[in-house]
Symmetry: C2
Subunit: 268 residues, 2 copies
């Protein structure tokens, strides 16, 4: 469905208020109204007003779009993309999205999401403007998060030092070690306010877990129904251990061919 | 990871060819090369060159971005967005993407994907330019597909008449009946070349199932590893039956408030 739960709820609240529905406590409809409001019209435990998704040319589409879509369901919040410079930003295959907010226009966020990618993500780990902005934003966030190799950028900012974290499966432990973080092989890992997810689609599970922490089980089930999120993957796979060894080995070899020269460059 | 398997494979093929790697059949590396090529460098059973995702103002972000991201992994294919008029197209919350291809520029597609939404999706079901274009494209597709309420648009084109199909859970049976289709409560349904998926995230499972049909198990496992697709939803929910009844009821009531006036308008 197009409408987020958030906007439907607001419409619903408005419509039921305007119609006077619920004014008579003996009314069955009014009771239902009260009951439903108590269940779904949930304010987050901690107020979440602004959620920023950091994007850069070459970001991985679903790393960004999954959390963007899911976190937009938090009542009372605004989700938007932020980039070093506003304007058109390209995903990994060249699709351009219009980003209306630049780093200089954002000094505070309640939730920061850092999506991953490949070579371009490594480039961000060397970009002091980006890393300084992340450190500044982190000072007042409720959640500072990364998806996939976005943990490399978050790590490069120094914020994962001594923390437990996860990232894309590719050379995960080795990559996090560069940034002083301890790799834990989980779908997502929470260490205080630092939440990190495994590769790509794990960002969606992490986003739902954040909603669950903020809004509880019933609200989260509402969001899941809005997303019809009852996944049926074609195979029990998706991690190196669950993948046929020859396929997992080949994927790693391919990524090595692409990434290793850059990673080796980093360490020097 | 940023790079699709497709582009990494092409790089890898190029690099190994250029280096002469694999020329000596007694070489262990060459054997490994052959073995890996046989496994992952898979041409689809049916050639898939062009994949078009139909977008319109108000489309649901993940309905479109999930299949866009996942189907881009098919070797030898190009995935792009198509709209009635090219230019900036807004998702349900106003994010603008740049669409470079208009209906008049596309007369053939191997795969057509129709994402859903809410009110704006119902508007498409009344738009003869859109429906005529879908009927024209369908004549030569290998797969004609819809995600979520995208099935309403596909249904309005007449192409689901007498077919078995699925759609978003909201009034699913009733909506498909309008278009002469038989609702089947599945994550995705295949009736000949017509594939339809349930709500939002189901489009990702349908896309993986299409890749599996075209490229087989090992390739699909490679794509799943690229997506790190080993979902861990916070609850066993996401369908009306699996959701706490009070939550499922309230969600339906909210959608009714938003959609029913428009749906009733349709039936007249």
């Amino acid at each position: 469905m197009k409408e987020t739960i958030k906007s439907i709820l607001l419409l619903w609240v408005l419509a039921t208020s305007l119609s006077g529905y619920g004014q008579n406590p003996s009314d069955v409809a009014a009771q239902r109204h009260q009951e439903m409001m108590a269940i779904l019209y949930t304010q987050p435990k901690i107020p979440i007003k602004t959620i920023g998704i950091l994007v850069y040319d070459g970001y991985n589409t679903l790393d960004a779009m999954g959390p963007y879509h899911i976190l937009s369901q938090i009542m009372g919040s605004k989700v938007f993309f932020v980039a070093k410079n506003k304007g058109m930003i390209k995903n990994q295959s060249g699709l351009q999205i219009k980003v209306d907010t630049s780093f200089t226009e954002v000094s505070k966020l309640d939730i920061l999401v850092i999506p991953g990618g490949a070579k371009e993500t490594l480039m961000q780990t060397q970009d002091s403007v980006t890393l300084n902005w992340i450190r500044k934003i982190d000072k007042t966030t409720t959640y500072t998060t990364s998806v996939c190799t976005g943990a490399w950028i978050l790590g490069a900012s120094g914020l994962l030092k001594g923390k437990t974290a996860t990232t894309n499966w590719y050379r995960a432990e080795e990559m996090l070690k560069i940034y002083g973080a301890n790799f834990k092989e989980e779908r997502w890992v929470k260490d205080g306010k630092y939440w990190t997810s495994a590769g790509v689609t794990a960002g969606m599970d992490m986003s739902l877990a954040i909603i669950d922490e903020l809004m509880g089980k019933k609200y989260t089930q509402g969001v899941m129904l809005d997303l019809e999120y009852d996944p049926k993957p074609p195979y029990n796979a998706g991690t190196p251990k669950k993948t046929e060894p020859i396929v997992a080995d080949m994927m790693k070899e391919m990524y090595d061919m692409l990434m290793l020269p850059f990673i080796k460059g980093l360490k020097k």
